[in-house]
C-alpha cells in the first residue's frame, strides 16, 4: 500500500526547541531542596548513630535545658539530652508511622472509593453511609477510640491513624471516579468488551492518581501529628527512644522557659510535610502526559 500518512494527517504537533528558555526557575529550586531534605531524613532513619553527635540516652545534669549553642545545636531537654540527637534518633519511628499509616489508609480508602464510585447503587450507599458516620467523628477522636480498643503497640497505632484517614480518601476518590466514569473513553473500553475490573485498573485508577498523590503527601504530615496526639495522651508506644510527636508533647510544658525543646521537633515535622508536598506535586506533574513534550 502506498502510504501518504505524513501529509494527509498533517505534521505532528512538535514543540520547537527555541521556546525552551533556560532560566532561573523557583519551582526547580524548591524541588531540589525538598529532595535533599527527604534524603537527609532517610539517612537519619537508616544511620542515626553516624549522624547524631550524642547518644539519645546520655543525660547530662550540667546542661539541663540549655539553649542552642555550638556544643548542642538544638539545645538540650529537661533531662539534659541533646535535642539534635533525639530528633535524629526519633526519625526512624516517626517516618515509619507516617508512611505506613498513609499507605494503609490510602490503599483502603482508594479501594472503597473506586468500588463505590464505579459500581454505584447499593454498594455506593453502604460504603458512603459508613464513611459518613466515620466523618462525623473527628480524626483524632477516632484514632484514640481505635488505639484504646486495640491497646498500645506500634502496629495498632498505625492501624488507628490510617483508619481515621480512610473516609477522606474514599470520599475524594469516589467523586473523581464518578466524573471519570462518564468520560467517553470508558464507554469506548466498554464497547470493545473490556472486563469491568480491567477498566477500573487500567483507566479509572491511573486517572485518579493525581488526587491520590496529593492526598497522600498531605497525609504523611497529618499522620505524624495524629500519632503525636496519641503519644501525648499516653496511648502511644513509649520506647526508650521517643518519636518526634512525643518530643513535641514533652516540650510543650516548657514552652515558656525553653522554647527550643518544642520548636525544633515541630520545625522538622513542618519541613518534612512541605518537602513531601512539593515532591508530590512534582510527581503528579510528571505523571501527567499533557506536560510531557515530544
Amino acid at each position: 500500500m502506498n502510504t501518504v500518512y505524513s501529509k494527509a494527517a498533517g505534521e505532528p504537533l512538535k514543540k520547537s526547541k527555541s521556546i525552551h528558555l533556560k532560566r532561573f526557575n523557583l519551582s526547580s529550586v524548591s524541588f531540589s531542596l525538598s529532595l535533599i531534605m527527604i534524603l537527609v531524613l532517610i539517612l537519619c532513619a537508616l544511620f542515626p548513630g553516624v549522624i547524631a553527635p550524642y547518644s539519645p540516652f546520655q543525660m547530662n545534669q550540667a546542661v539541663v535545658m540549655s539553649p542552642p549553642s555550638f556544643t548542642h545545636v538544638f539545645g538540650t531537654d529537661q533531662f539534659g539530652r541533646d535535642m539534635f540527637s533525639l530528633i535524629v534518633y526519633g526519625t526512624r519511628q516517626s517516618l515509619m508511622m507516617g508512611l505506613l499509616a498513609v499507605l494503609l489508609g490510602g490503599f483502603t480508602g482508594t479501594v472503597i472509593g473506586l468500588l463505590a464510585g464505579y459500581f454505584g447503587g447499593i454498594i455506593d450507599t453502604i460504603f458512603m453511609r459508613l464513611t459518613d458516620i466515620l466523618l462525623t467523628i473527628p480524626n483524632i477522636l477516632l484514632a484514640i477510640a481505635i488505639s484504646a480498643a486495640l491497646g498500645p503497640s506500634l502496629l495498632n497505632i498505625i492501624v488507628a491513624v490510617s483508619f481515621s484517614a480512610v473516609p477522606n480518601y474514599a470520599r475524594v476518590i469516589r467523586g473523581q471516579v464518578i466524573a471519570i466514569k462518564s468520560r467517553p473513553y470508558i464507554d469506548a473500553s466498554k464497547t470493545i468488551g473490556m472486563p469491568r475490573m480491567k477498566i477500573i485498573m487500567r483507566h479509572v485508577l491511573p486517572n485518579c492518581s493525581s488526587q491520590i498523590i496529593v492526598m497522600a503527601a498531605l497525609g504523611i504530615g497529618t499522620s505524624i501529628l495524629i500519632s503525636t496526639g496519641l503519644s501525648f495522651l499516653g496511648l502511644g508506644v513509649i520506647k526508650e527512644i521517643p518519636d518526634w510527636g512525643y518530643l513535641l508533647s514533652q516540650g510543650r510544658s516548657y514552652i515558656t522557659i525553653a522554647w527550643w525543646i518544642v520548636t525544633f521537633p515541630g520545625l522538622v515535622i513542618t519541613l518534612l510535610v512541605i518537602a513531601v508536598n512539593i515532591l508530590g506535586d512534582e510527581l503528579r506533574d510528571r505523571l501527567d502526559p499533557k506536560r510531557t513534550r515530544a
Binding site: M1, K7, A8, A9, G10, K14, P184, I192, G193
Partner: protein, 678 residues
C-alpha cells in the same frame, strides 16, 4: 468608520515564552455593517474578538502592539475601568454557549435589568419594564412571566435569545457574536440568524460575526475576513469572496464544504494536513505546507496583506491561481462503487425498540418518564451506511448506545445477523462486542489521556486476541498506516495530536478487530471543515476496503447526506421518515424533514432569509399528544393532535409517519411559502 483595527498583535505568556495568538491583524467595520470573521479553530478569531473588548487581559493575554480605534477613542490605551463603560453599552458581545453566558442563580429578568441599571442608571422598575420589551423584541413569548424564570427553565435557543436581549439592552453600536449558533440545532440556528438580521435593521448596529461556518457567513455578511494561523489572509465583500476567492486557503475551505448538491458517491475535497500549532508556526507564508501552489518564495518570505482593489489578500501567487473556479467542481477523484442491491441482507434489525428513563427528583415528586426512544423499528443492510438525523434530544444517540449495548433497552428487540443480542451470555456478548464498534464524537474525550496512542489502538487486541509484544506492535502499526497515521507516532500521547489525527486513532481502534458494523456517533461534528472531509473520505475508503456497515449519526444534514445510502429522520424518540438518500432530499414527505433540509445555510447563495421551523423541540418528558410534531407543523390538523401516525411505506422503500405527507409538488410550494413567511 466605526471600528478600525491596525496592526493588532496579541500574545500569551506561557512557560515556554510568549505565544503570538494574533499577529498584525488589520480590519475595519463601518457603521451598520455586517462583517464575518471566518477561520478554523486555532486561527485566532476568538482571541481577536476578545482583544477588541480588551477582555483578553483577563485570560492571561496581552496586546503587544497595534491600535484599536472605536469612533475616535483609542481602546488599547484605556484603563480597564474606562473600558468597562464601553462593554455592554457601546460594544456588546454574545457567546457560543448561552448556558454558560448566564448566571444560573439569578432570574433572567434581573440579569437584563442589571445591564440597564449599571450603564443607564435606570431605576429598577423602569429597567424591568425595558427588559420585558427587549424579551418581546427577541421573540420570547409571554415575556412578563418568563422574566422571573431562571436560565435552566429555557431551551438553548431561547437562552441565546435572552443573551441577545441582554446584549441589545443599551443599544450598542457594535455587536460581537462569537459562534452564536454553533451550540444550537440547525433549525434553531436558522431562527437565531434571522433574528440577528432583523434586529440589525431595527437597531442599526454593526455586527461582527465570528464563525467557522462559511455557509452562515455567506448568507449574512456584507464583508468577510478570513483568518489563518493568527493572521488575516483574505478580506473581501461577501459576494466577491464566495464567487472568486483569491487565497488558496479560502478556495480550499470553500471546496471542503459539503454542499447539498455535491456528487454523493465521490470522495470529498480536503486540504492536506491541519492548522499549525502556535508554537510551531511555519516560516514564510504560514499556509505553505498545505498549499498546492507553494514555491520557494512562499517558504522563505511572508506575503503582506496586499490591496487588490476590491479585496485584500496575503498570497504571493494570487495572480497565478487558475481563473476558472467552481464551487461544485470539488472532486474528480475515484468514484465509489454502487454496491449490489440484491446481495444486501439485513445486518441489524431493530424492532419496537424503546428506552424510557424514569426521573424522580425527590421522594414526594411525581414520577416522570422520559421517552428517549419510543417504539422504533428499522433495519440496516449489510454494507450500507444508514444515516440517522434529528435535533439534539431526538434520541438518536440513545438509540445508538442501545445497539452497542451500552444501555439496556426498556422494550423491544435488536437482532444482529439474525440473532437476538439482548440478554445473551457473556461469551456471546464478547463476540458481539468484537463485531460491533463505535467512533465517538469527541476524539479527545474518547481516549484515555494517560495512554499512548499505540496502546489505545491495541486495547481491543489485548482483550480479544491476546496479542502481545512485537506481534501487537506490528499489527497496530499496520492499522495506523491504514488510517493515514505515521506509525512512528506509536508512543505519542493523545494531547500531542490534532483533532483530526485523534479521530484517525479512534477509527484505527474501531477497525482493529475487523468488525462488521461501526457506529459513528457525530464522528465528524467536532472537527474543522477542512479536516472533516479528510475523515469522511477515510471512512468511505475503509468501508469499500473492509466491507463495513455504518450507522452514521449526525445533525449536519449535508454530511449525513454525503455519506449515507439511506437516512432515517428522528423526532422526539420516533422515526418519522426513512428513505433512500437521494429520494429523501428530492422528495421529502415529512414536514419535519423538509424543514431540516431548508434550514441548512448554503454558501452558493446569499439570500438574507432563512426558511425555518417555528419553536423548538418539546421536552421528551412531556411529548405532545398524537403526532409529536404537530406543535411545530405548518400542516397540522385536528387529527394530528389526537391520532399517532404510524411509520408506513408510502412509495417503494420510502417510509413516513405523517397524516398529511408532502407530495413532490406540495414540497416545492411549502418551501416557497416558508420563505415568504420569513
Amino acid at each position: 468608520m466605526l471600528l478600525d483595527v491596525k496592526d493588532l498583535s496579541v500574545g500569551f505568556k506561557t512557560e515556554y515564552g510568549l505565544l503570538n495568538a494574533v499577529n498584525e491583524v488589520e480590519m475595519h467595520i463601518d457603521k451598520g455593517e455586517f462583517v464575518a470573521l471566518v477561520g478554523e479553530s486555532g486561527s485566532g478569531k476568538t482571541i481577536t474578538s476578545l482583544s477588541l473588548m480588551r477582555l483578553i487581559e483577563f485570560n492571561n493575554g496581552k496586546i503587544t502592539s497595534g491600535k484599536i480605534t472605536f469612533q475616535d477613542q483609542q481602546l488599547e490605551k484605556l484603563s480597564q475601568r474606562q473600558m468597562s463603560e464601553f462593554r455592554g453599552s457601546r460594544i456588546a458581545m454574545i457567546f457560543q454557549d448561552p448556558m454558560n453566558a448566564l448566571d444560573p442563580v439569578y432570574p433572567i429578568g434581573q440579569q437584563i435589568a442589571e445591564v440597564l441599571i449599571k450603564h443607564k442608571n435606570m431605576p429598577k422598575k423602569k429597567a424591568d419594564q425595558q427588559a420585558i420589551e427587549l424579551l418581546g423584541k427577541v421573540g420570547i413569548p409571554d415575556p412578563k412571566t418568563r422574566l422571573k424564570q431562571y436560565p435552566y427553565e429555557f431551551s438553548g435557543g431561547m437562552l441565546q435569545r435572552v443573551v441577545i436581549a441582554m446584549a441589545l439592552a443599551c443599544k450598542p453600536e457594535l455587536l460581537i457574536a462569537d459562534e452564536p449558533t454553533t451550540a444550537l440545532d440547525v433549525t434553531t440556528q436558522a431562527q437565531i440568524l434571522s433574528l440577528l438580521l432583523q434586529l440589525r435593521e431595527e437597531f442599526g448596529m454593526a455586527i461582527l460575526l465570528i464563525t467557522h461556518d462559511l455557509g452562515v457567513a455567506a448568507q449574512l455578511a456584507d464583508r468577510v475576513v478570513v483568518m489563518y494561523s493568527a493572521k488575516v489572509v483574505e478580506e473581501a465583500v461577501a459576494e466577491k469572496l464566495f464567487q472568486s476567492p483569491s487565497h488558496p486557503y479560502t478556495r480550499g475551505l470553500l471546496k471542503s464544504i459539503i454542499s447539498l448538491d455535491s456528487e454523493r458517491k465521490t470522495s470529498l475535497f480536503s486540504i492536506d494536513g491541519s492548522i499549525p500549532a502556535l508554537d510551531n508556526i511555519p516560516s514564510g507564508c504560514r499556509f505553505h505546507p498545505r498549499c498546492e501552489y507553494a514555491t520557494e518564495l512562499c517558504k522563505s518570505k511572508e506575503p503582506p496583506l496586499a490591496d487588490k482593489g476590491d479585496s485584500r489578500v496575503a498570497c504571493w501567487h494570487t495572480d497565478k491561481l487558475p481563473e476558472e473556479w467552481k464551487l461544485e467542481a470539488a472532486s474528480t477523484l475515484e468514484k465509489l462503487e454502487e454496491p449490489d442491491e440484491e446481495k444486501r441482507s439485513a445486518l441489524i434489525e431493530v424492532e419496537n425498540l424503546s428506552k424510557h428513563f424514569s426521573l424522580k427528583k425527590g421522594i414526594f415528586d411525581k414520577k416522570q418518564v422520559l421517552q428517549a426512544v419510543d417504539n422504533v423499528s428499522f433495519s440496516i443492510r449489510r454494507g450500507e451506511t444508514f444515516g440517522l438525523v434529528g435535533e439534539s434530544g431526538s434520541g438518536k444517540s440513545t438509540l445508538g448506545r442501545m445497539l452497542l449495548q451500552l444501555e439496556p433497552p426498556t422494550a423491544g428487540e435488536i437482532r444482529f445477523e439474525g440473532k437476538k443480542i439482548i440478554n445473551v451470555n457473556a461469551d456471546e456478548k464478547k463476540k458481539l462486542k468484537a463485531n460491533m464498534q463505535m467512533i465517538f464524537q469527541d476524539p479527545s474525550g474518547s481516549m484515555d489521556p494517560k495512554w499512548k496512542i499505540g496502546n489505545v489502538i491495541a486495547e481491543p487486541l489485548t482483550v480479544h486476541r491476546n496479542l502481545k509484544g512485537d506481534e501487537k506492535r506490528t499489527y497496530v502499526k499496520e492499522l495506523m498506516q491504514m488510517v493515514g497515521l505515521n506509525p512512528d507516532w506509536y508512543n505519542r500521547y493523545p494531547n500531542q495530536l490534532s483533532g483530526g489525527q485523534k479521530q484517525r486513532v479512534a477509527i484505527a481502534r474501531a477497525i482493529a478487530l475487523d468488525p462488521a458494523f461501526i457506529l459513528a456517533d457525530e464522528a465528524v461534528s467536532a472537527l474543522d471543515v477542512s479536516v472533516q472531509s479528510q475523515v469522511i473520505n477515510l471512512l468511505q475508503d475503509l468501508q469499500k476496503k473492509l466491507g463495513l456497515t455504518y450507522l452514521f449519526i449526525g445533525h449536519g444534514m449535508n454530511v449525513v447526506r454525503h455519506i449515507s445510502d439511506r437516512i432515517g429522520v428522528m423526532y422526539l424518540g420516533q422515526l418519522v421518515e426513512i428513505a433512500q438518500t437521494d429520494e429523501l432530499f428530492r422528495n421529502p414527505k415529512h414536514h419535519y424533514t423538509k424543514s431540516l433540509i431548508n434550514a441548512i445555510p448554503n454558501p452558493a447563495e446569499k439570500k438574507n432569509t432563512f426558511s425555518q421551523v417555528k419553536g423548538s423541540i418539546p421536552s421528551p418528558t412531556k411529548p405532545p399528544s398524537g403526532c409529536k410534531f404537530h406543535t411545530r407543523c405548518p400542516a397540522a390538523t385536528k387529527i394530528c393532535k389526537t391520532a399517532k401516525p404510524s411509520l408506513e411505506e408510502d412509495t417503494d422503500g420510502h417510509y413516513v409517519a405523517c397524516h398529511h405527507p408532502l407530495t413532490a409538488q406540495a414540497a416545492l410550494e411549502s418551501k416557497e411559502e416558508m420563505e415568504v413567511q420569513t
